[in-house]
Amino acid sequence: MATLTPTVDAATPAHHAPSGVWSWLTTTDHKRIGLLYGVSALLFFLVGGVEALLIRLQLAAPDGTVLSADAYNQMFTMHATTMVFLVIMPAAAAFTNYFLPILIGARDVAFPRLNALSYWIYIFGGLFLTISFFVGGAPDGGWFGYAPLSTQVPELVRMDYWALGVQILGLASLLSAVNFITTVFTMRAPGMTMMRMPVFAWMALVVAFLLLFSLPIIAVGLFEVFFDRNLGTLFFDAAAGGRPILWQHLFWLFGHPEVYILILPAMGIVSEVLPVFSRKPLFGRSFVIFSGIAIGFMGFGVWAHHMFVAGLGPVAEATFALTTMFIAVPTGVKIFNWIGTVWGGSVRLKTPMLFSLGFIAMFVIGGLSGVTHSIVPSDTQQHDTYYIVAHFHYVLFGGAVFGLFGGIYYWWPKITGKLLHEGLGKLHFWLMIIGFNLTFAPMHILGLRGMPRRTYRYPDGLGFEFWNFIATVGSFTIAVSILVFLVNAWRTRKRGEVAGNDPWDGRTLEWTTTSPPPEHNFDVVPVVHSEDDFWHRKYSEDEHGNAVPVPGGYEPPKAGQDDPPIHLPSPSYYPILSAFGMFLTVLGLVYVPWGLFLAGAGVVTIVWGLFGWSMEPVTREGH
């Protein structure tokens, strides 16, 4: 099995660093899986970004001719589908995979092969969706696939790609959720009580519960859409007594928790970065944690605010208006606690800190426009206009993406052992925040002036021209900022400053390991005595509450002769095989009835993969 004898292998960290493509295809190491998620998310970010730039080129001037109406529908559908399912969720998964076990003092997640399976399903799901572009057109019914539009035109398979693609991506996330919940509940290090867990770990846990309970709802909805399209069922066929609004309920029962799934990891990252770069503990830490939990619960109670123009009636609308207003409260609590963290701290404005501060500012703006949506009459005017587009880009880009970039700059040295260049990082940040605001701030105005969403062109003379042009300029500014980041990333391979274990003077357990960490994470499983355990081992407090370095510093314990051997999960090809089987299955299902042969081959592959998996021991002898 992959057993290490700590005394030998701590001295030779390269002992268990397998290399080659096969080692990546069969890896069960959470850190490698995290890296795979991260690189993949970045690639899809570029794809989704190009889709956005094409949209902006089309809308830069009235009566645009860059994209046909059909192409435009595909662009806005795929831009959103890509960003939500192939970029932001996997980017969060990248950080959760890489760091959750380390933050709680564990050596890996509860189910390493299941972890790998989630990644491979994601990649095959992304590949599956991408294929659609080349075989007659990508999904074009919006990322939210409203029925009966999504159930019509069965002879074009685009929305079959959408329904099945989102379905398996959802499965990948559901399996991850089970994995992370189990990991947090069963694998924390000694002394790591729930309340001592870092806030990022807590947010990952809340996200896992949101996924666990929202994904099954959309799974059923997607099956119903697929069956209406291919089996002739009548779930959303109004002429036959079906109720299309049922789809809206099912989608948003998932879709609203989904937006908290998108934002909470970034909030977790910000909660880690601010204390480190303010040299102060997170203000009101337990309030931040409980607010995250509250957001999770309340996130299930606001879904119909996406349906205020669907004719639900005043009772339902008033109810959801109230619940939506209330959910601003725990978010506000977080904002104030973050501000309280920075206030009076010894602030270092490094790039991770800039992105985190940017997050707070941009997310507050997005949150405020969100509060205006909670008021039913004003939402009735805003709905389906660019005002909504402005809102969700402020919270998803200004919020989630900024937070995730903060995480990239913060954790890059730990993952790669090198620091990203600080000057280029700052350039990236400033170009991005300027470009971002140029792009999306005008959309508030455009929306209130009546510019509708999802419309491929607008005529001259409606007052939309100037701000659309500015927005397009802004979007290309964002693109330049991303290029700066890519240059920075490429540059550090050869010329990056070596980071060492603890380049930021961090507070949490990941900074006690080498950069990058050894495969087994910790030579000796840490025994935790408090939150921010690492910080309290480096520093004590004088009578004024100032941090005073502990004489001699802190060295994490090295493994000795008496420490038990470390068992690591062995690599396996069954996860990628099973995921490939799922890919074949959904591809075949798109083309029923003759595709059933391919789907059948896919099912056989899945069964083979799962059977082999169950027969294979987790750790093999004689590695």
Partner: protein, 98 residues
């Protein structure tokens, strides 16, 4: 605290539980044939099926005697479903005046 510390149920106990489940099922089916009970049929049936549900979950699935974590995980889903879908069905005008 673990299941091992308690006296373990014997097969005979499990059979007894199965008999109880059978009796409740028989009662449920009978209720549908007794016209006099029509007005309270829904309440009676839902109560009886809830009882069977609780018995299987509590004893066969051992939830009554196991770690609180398992119960919390399951109950979160079990309680969320009727609340969320009760709201959805209410919005369609169902469930009221039934």
């Amino acid at each position: 605290m673990t299941a091992i510390d308690r006296p373990h149920p014997k097969p005979r106990d499990y059979v007894r539980i199965a008999l109880i489940l059978f009796v409740i099922t028989a009662a449920e089916v009978s209720v549908t044939y007794v016209d006099a009970l029509d007005s309270s049929r829904a309440v009676l049936l839902l109560t009886m099926s809830a009882a069977k549900f609780a018995i299987v979950v509590g004893w066969y699935m051992h939830l009554r005697f196991d770690s609180r974590i398992y119960r919390n995980l399951f109950m979160l889903g079990l309680i969320a479903a009727p609340i969320l879908f009760g709201a959805v069905l209410l919005s369609f005008g169902l469930l009221i005046g039934n």
